[in-house]
Structures are given as structure tokens and as C-alpha cells.
Symmetry: C2
Subunit: 517 residues, 2 copies
């Protein structure tokens, strides 16, 4: 059984097919008790792709995916590639309302969900009645039923297609659309090409090295670029990827000890919990790299890692650059405390203020350029024009370079709140608060949180005479916002502090100055 070229796009975009040709018997994917080699993964992806095709998924179709971490997620990612369809991973913590907004924004016509997310998927139909819902477990049942209709499984060798022109097309061919939190209220939809993802995998390998014995562990959500990037690296490098359904520090430690994990990607709070759970047990020598994202780590954490021999590689990453942008090697970790290291090979980075590059040591906006930078924000020409200028991407993050060229990220763009690895933009929460009839205006800031790094708190000005409790307003938010975005504290104040030009002075909004009403 050979695909017609009308059915599937060229092999050159289909990294899994390429990998299965080269390393058919190499371990590819481990999820719980289920392990697959590349040959088998490839065959199952072909089946799933065929099933998706029968359900109307075509090249360029935007397929939103609302699924928890699992091996099914990996199957879906590769099956969409095989079809030339576009992956749109959705944050599973979002409300149905938020999901519907995202789908509408990018005109996604199909929403693929698992059983866990069925209810929320159905709820989105209230807003988007024409949306086509597909359940991944239904697709699997169909495959089992139709099994006898297939003479035999597609062998990877037969996947080799004869449509080479797409090789050069990878620069523009869209792989996925990932939502980032938006400074102006609504999320932005970053469009990433095959070339972006491939270039990131390559740049990361040139930095971290590439061992044929590497085993990656993914315990971060696959809907984030940090998780998705590891899935893609697995097939590009030909290394096994172990997927955890959710972050569990004990499971992470067991994977270190029993599954020869060599690389894992974590944020500070997760690493802290892994260390706590581990106790005095030494780390195995097979663990060669802990990629640490989500903001600079504390000296205390880094020193603790150095003591117990955890090779921490701090990174600065962006959805818009397909993940890693800069990394700090373990060798420099303590010498350059708080630094995100140097930009990866192929990525240029400068610090800029009002269009002018700044000298070493001065703080300005971090601006990058390179083959990993996204093509655009989908259906948002204004945001695109603001972010992409003359081939440079304006990150909105502030930082500086020291005299050796090491990057220090001083603050994430504007007022970004990072809570347990999730980016939260105050504007989005403020927009929801302001829709309450009793609220005149509001301001949200991040405050430090013992477990999650930061959590959002809100300052609210009420209509004269109106009264409202924190609980009431939190409940109001919960209908429209993912749980992690709901302010942990809400303070009612008579007016927001502003500067002469009317801009809210967020730095004047630090607790405990405001008194809770």
C-alpha cells in the first residue's frame, strides 16, 4: 500500500518517516508501560493520519488539539505532519470561553480532544456551533475496526515519497500555531514553520551536544513550546522520548534511576520539588543535562544543584523562537549567576533602546534574529508589525549583555507574571475584571509565591457605592479564565496610582500598602 502524493506531503517534512527509514529498531517513545520503536510509531502514525484524512483533515487544515500529555499526543503531532496539516496545541487549563476565542481567532475548523477534555470541547460548541469535534479515542476505535481492511501495516520504507520540491519549502511551510499570552489582553498566535523547529533542534544540539544514547524526559505540558520541542527533537535526533502525563517529582526521579534519562527540561519550582523528593540519593551519571527555563534560578538553587551534582543548563526561551534562544552551560552556572548564557549558534542577539543598539552593560530590549524566529502572529498584522522589524524579533523582554557577551534577562516583557512555568499577562486578567458591572478599573501584578515563583494579585476600583467581595470577583473570573490566572488576592482601592501621563504605576502597587476592603 503506497501513499499517493496527493494524500501525503513530501517526506522531507515528515521527520518521523525519515527517522523510521534510518533507525527503524531504535526506541522512539515511552509512555507508562507502552514503548514503541520508530518503525512501529511510524506505522501507527500512518494509520492515524489515514483516519484523520477520512475525517476531513487536509494539507493546511488547522487542527486544534486539546489533550493531556500522552503517547497519543505524540501520535497526533506526527500524523498532522504526515498530512501537511497544521498543529494548534491548546492549553488544557483554559476555559471553554478562552478556547473558543483562540479557535475563532485563527479560524481553526477542527478540534481534536481526548476523553479528559471532552466536556470542555463540547462546551466550546456554544460559542462555535460549526466547529467539528473529533475524539482521538474514537479515531483509534475506527482504526481497530478497519484493521482487517489494511493488507498490512505501511512499512517506513514505503513511505519514501518522490516529491522533492518541498525540501526547499520548509522555510515557509507551516508546522504549528502556538498561542502566547498577549500584553494587550488577547493571546497572540505565533506561526512556526518546519524550518523554525528544525533550526531550533539543530541549534540546541550544537549547544548541548548530541549523544546517540540520549534519552529525553518530557514532564512539561506538550502544548507548550518547551514540551513540543522535545517531541520534535526525538524524531530529528533519533532519540527516545519518555512522556509523563503530568509533573510528578517521584516519577521524575524514578525515570532518572530506571530509564537512563539523560536530558530533562524543567522550571525552577519543578527542579526544587525533584530535589526535595530525592533526598540524599545521588543522581545517576546518565543524567547529563537539566535544561532550566522559565526565568533565572536563585543562587541557592544553583548551589544546591552543584552540591548534589545536577548539571543545570539555564535557558532563555520564547514561543516565537521555537523555544531555546540562549543557554548557560553548567561550567559557567555559578560564575555567571543569574545569566541566561549566550545565544545559540545561528541566533544573533542585541540589546536595543529606541532603535539604537546599546553598549555592554546597559539594559534595553532583547532583540533577536535567526532561522528559529516565527513567521508572524496569525491574523494580527499590528502585533506582527510591532514585533518583527527588518528581520529582527523584538521580544519585549529587557536585559543586558556583560563584557563577555553573557545575557542577563532583567524582566520579562512589560508586566509578565510567571507562575509555575505559565506566562500570565496582567492585561488579560484586567480585561475580564473590567467587564464586571461594578468595576471601574483594575490593575494586576505578580507577587512572589513560595511554590509557583509568582502569583497574580489584583487591585480593583469599584463604582461609587458598590460593594463586592474578593470571593465574588474570583468566582466571576473563574467563569472566563483558566484557574492559574485567577488573582490569588484582590485588593479594593479608591484609585489606581498613575503618573503624569496617566500610565498606571504598577511598581507603586506593592502589598501591603493597599488595605483589603
Amino acid at each position: 500500500m503506497r501513499h499517493s502524493s496527493a494524500e501525503f506531503i513530501s517526506l522531507s517534512h515528515d521527520w518521523l518517516a525519515q527517522r523510521a527509514l534510518r533507525s527503524p529498531d531504535q526506541l522512539a517513545l515511552v509512555y507508562g508501560e507502552r514503548a514503541r520503536v520508530f518503525r512501529r510509531l511510524d506505522a501507527e502514525v500512518t494509520q492515524l493520519a489515514r483516519s484523520l484524512l477520512e475525517h476531513g483533515v487536509q494539507p493546511e487544515t488547522r487542527v486544534a488539539v486539546l489533550m493531556r500529555n500522552s503517547d497519543d499526543y505524540a501520535l497526533v503531532v506526527h500524523a498532522l505532519s504526515r498530512l501537511g496539516a497544521i498543529l494548534v496545541p491548546l492549553n488544557t487549563r483554559l476555559t471553554a470561553r478562552e478556547i473558543a476565542w483562540q479557535l475563532g481567532h485563527i479560524n481553526a475548523s477542527i478540534l481534536l480532544h481526548d476523553e479528559t477534555n471532552r466536556v470542555r470541547a463540547v462546551e466550546t460548541l456554544e460559542t462555535l456551533p460549526n466547529l467539528q469535534l473529533e475524539s482521538v479515542s474514537n479515531l483509534h476505535s475506527e482504526i481497530v475496526n478497519q484493521q482487517s481492511a489494511f493488507t498490512r501495516l505501511q512499512s517506513p520504507f514505503e513511505n519514501q515519497k518522490l516529491v522533492p520540491s518541498a525540501v526547499e519549502g520548509s522555510k515557509i511551510q507551516t508546522h504549528s500555531i502556538l498561542f502566547t499570552s498577549g500584553t494587550t489582553g488577547n493571546p497572540k498566535a505565533a506561526l512556526l514553520t518546519y524550518h523554525n523547529h528544525w533550526s531550533n533542534a539543530v541549534a540546541s544540539a550544537l549547544n548541548l551536544g548530541l549523544d546517540t544514547d540520549d534519552v529525553w524526559l518530557v514532564c512539561m505540558p506538550l502544548y507548550h513550546i518547551g514540551g513540543l520541542a522535545i517531541l520534535l527533537r526525538g524524531v530529528i535526533y533519533g532519540n527516545p522520548v519518555i512522556i509523563h502525563p503530568a509533573f510528578d517529582p517521584d516519577a521524575v526521579n524514578r525515570a532518572f534511576d530506571e530509564q537512563r534519562v539523560s536530558i530533562v527540561s524543567l522550571v525552577s519550582t519543578m527542579l526544587q520539588r525533584v530535589l526535595d523528593a530525592r533526598g540524599d540519593k545521588p543522581f545517576p551519571p546518565t543524567l547529563r543535562c537539566v535544561l532550566l527555563g522559565g526565568g533565572p534560578a536563585t543562587a541557592e538553587l544553583l548551589e544546591r544543584c552543584a552540591r548534589v551534582g545536577v548539571p543545570v543548563v539555564q535557558t532563555y526561551g520564547l514561543t516565537e523562537a521555537a523555544s531555546q534562544v540562549a543557554t548557560l552551560t553548567p561550567r559557567d552556572a555559578l560564575r555567571k549567576l543569574g545569566s541566561a548564557g549566550k545565544p545559540l549558534m545561528g541566533i544573533e542577539l542585541r540589546i536595543e533602546q529606541q532603535g539604537e543598539p546599546l553598549p555592554q552593560g546597559e539594559i534595553g530590549e532583547i532583540v533577536i534574529s535567526g532561522p528559529t524566529v516565527m513567521r508572524e502572529y496569525v491574523n494580527d498584522p499590528q502585533a506582527t508589525a510591532r514585533a518583527l522589524r527588518d528581520g529582527w524579533f523584538y521580544t519585549g523582554d529587557m536585559g543586558y549583555l556583560d563584557d563577555e557577551g553573557f545575557l542577563y534577562v532583567v524582566s520579562r516583557r512589560d508586566d509578565l507574571i510567571v507562575s509555575g512555568g505559565e506566562n500570565i499577562y496582567p492585561a488579560e486578567i484586567e480585561a475580564v475584571l473590567n467587564t464586571h458591572p461594578s468595576v471601574i478599573e483594575s490593575a494586576v501584578i505578580g507577587v512572589s509565591h513560595p511554590e509557583w515563583g509568582q502569583s497574580p494579585v489584583a487591585y480593583v476600583v469599584l463604582q461609587n457605592g458598590d460593594t463586592l467581595t474578593q470571593d465574588e470577583l474570583q468566582t466571576f473570573c473563574a467563569r472566563q479564565l483558566a484557574r492559574f490566572k485567577i488573582p490569588t488576592n484582590i485588593y479594593f482601592i479608591p484609585e489606581l496610582p498613575r503618573n503624569a501621563s496617566g500610565k498606571v504605576l504598577r511598581r507603586n502597587l506593592a502589598p501591603p500598602s493597599p488595605v483589603k476592603k
Copy 2:
């Protein structure tokens, strides 16, 4: 001292500058007693680039380089990159007349030479009186004299340029023009872009892995793609490269033992000599990869390597694909004897006959596609049109894929012998001849035959002291080969004529020059 953007092209093409920013204190280059870290290499390259600029080298200038292997060669390669000029490496074994033909063919206006090649460089002026000769040692003297004029060495950090548009330009920006051996008359000038070289380095790393402790040894000519590719990988990967002035088996063994060489690139005859010179001394564990090119290795050689623990990785490479196309891992070396392995990640390969892909097991032309494939043969639209069709490169080599997708290169198409309508592949006959205990090596070519069009004749090198008649060897062949494949004449010669990369020069094997033993 900061370059103006008019002087130097964007950083994105300047791999050395990028590397020096990231790994300034990493060892970069070793030649005899001279060792340089990336920071120093970068500074010296800036000086040389400035000097070349003063001598008229501009972006896009084609600079032919006639130099023996040395650290100067590496300086020149990187300095031309810094200027955006085009490197044209010349085979130092060519006559002045052949060099002049090549320079004229591609309109190179500057010939850069070292002291060893001064006389031949001057001789080319007889044919090309307008050629500008530049001596690399003169350039160095000028640099020393002007040293005081420089306030200080350029630091790598200051090299960072602000011209990002060229990032996307690497696909078309020319890096170098390399002449291929040209089995059919005049050499062809393969034009390789930055994208070609970068993609090859990446594909090779995805195959061989990438260790931050790797040390590459180059003992092949730097004017061949196999040598040049290692120089470029050095700066792309950030690993040190050790350059030997020429191939010396004892020096290679010393480098293994004393300089922690982890990867070396050799052809069979060189590897044989390294093994002979080594005797019983075990190979150090730091040697993790011997890349073996220039045609399939014999079972005897591979078994010998397996016995003494040399990790041989057989490769099939092409100048037109920036070097490696396919490789066979040590794990499969003995199981897939004679195979060149599988195509590198990102490279598609098929076997074709008269425009139709052939099924597994059938011999046809090897056709490849991918980001490593050259843009064109310079000033040779006919050869380009013949070789590049619809994005596929027609290698002219014949081979087949087995049922697991392993490539077997049967022979160069140019060597194909057609006798009475039957296709004869010299490699097949040579393989039989080489199994005779008295035969060291052999080469078979076609000569015209009054009745059958062509007939095969063999050139055979015997073990020292052995004697054998043509009749005896023909009888030996008759036991294993169809009648039409038995060489009609067999000539006994002391050694086969080879080019610098070890490839047998079949065109030098025309009768009646050899004397029948």
C-alpha cells in the same frame, strides 16, 4: 575598532565570528607546535581579511587558493568568509596548465599561493597574464609591519554586526567553488552555498553525534571537500581541528595517542597504512569514529578493524553534496559489508533508471535531493541541466538499496561497460579478482571491441614475489562470473594510479601503456 558593514558581511555567514563569541577560550586549531583558541583565531582572521581587502578582495570575488595543508589554509578559508569572498580551492597536484584552465573556466581573478606553490602559481601567468598573484606569506609580513597601526586586536565581541537580512540569504550565498575529479574530460566546478556546507555539518552531526570533547584530525588535502568540510565543522561545532601537512601514518597514530583525536576521515589505503604502522598497540578509547570514504572497504580491512577495535564508519560522499551523503554505522559494518549505509537525515535518495524509480535490489543511478546539494556547475549550463533536474541531483553513480534501505554503491556510471547489450559493472569483476590470494588490488575498464562494442580488461597488482598468468586468472574468474564479464585482457602493474583522495584514475589505465607481465 569596529568594522563598517560595507567592509564585512553579516555575522550570520561568519561562522568563526559566531563561534568566537560563544566559545572564545575553546581550542580551535592545532598545526604542529601552533595552537590557537577561537578568540585568537578570530583576531588573526580579521587581520588577514583586512589585508586581503587592501589587496582588492571584495564580496563575491573568486579567490583561488593553491596551498598545501597548514594553519594558514584555515586562516584563508575563514578570512574569505569574513569578506564574503568566494573560496576556490585548487588541487596542488595539478600542472600549471590545468590550473590555468580551471581559473579561466570560472573567471577567478586572484590566485593566492604559499611558498611551496609559488613556482607553479607564477607559471600560470603564461596562460593568464592578467591574473593577480598573492602570496600568503607576503600578506603575513604586511600584517606584522602594520601591527603598530592597529590600536589593538579586534575582539570577537566587536565583530557582531547588525545586518540580519543575510540570515535568510545563506541559502543562495556562495561559499566556495570546488572542482570535481571529472572522469569525463574537463573538471566541473561545483558551486556550494553556505547553506550547503551548514546543512552537511548538521546532517553529519545528527548521524555521528556531537561531543563537546571531540577533536577532529584532518590529514586529507584541504582542497578536497572531505578536508574542507572538517575545517568548517570545527567552527560550526566549536571543536578543535588538528591539521597535518600531509598524510603520515606515524603522525596519525601519534595524534591518536597524544592529542585525544576522536574523529578522523580516511580512505581505505590510508587506514590500511595506519593499521600497518601501528602494529599491536591498542587504539585509545578517545578515538570514537574513523570516517572511511572513497569507495567500499574490503571485508578483510573491516574485519581487521573490528579485531583491533577501530570504529569504522563507511561513507558515500560527493563534492556536489558538500561531502557525506550516506554513512554506515560500526554496528552494521560487518552485517552490511560493502554498503555505504543510509542517507543522512534530511537527504532523500532513490535509485532510478530512465526517469523511473526502481524497486529494492535493482541497480540504477543514485539520485539525491536535499539542502546539501550544490546550486550549479559554474559556467557549464549543459552539465548543470544534466545533473540537476526538478530538484534532484543525478550523481552518475550506480547502486541499489537492499530490503532494509541500505545503499550499495556499485560503480560510477562513467565506468559502466556495455558489452553486447549487457551492462557490466567493473566493481563486480574487481571484487572477484580481489578474492584471489595473490591479488592485492585491481581495476577493470572497458575497451572497444570490434564485435561486442566494449569488452572488460583488468589491471592487477600482485603480492610481492607472486607470479600469475592471464590464463590462470581468467580461469579463476570463469568459476564465478558469467562469460561476458571475464576480462579479455589482464595486465599486471606495480600499482594503480590514484588521485589525492585515493580514488583510482581509470582514465589513466588505457592500454597499451602497461606492459604485460
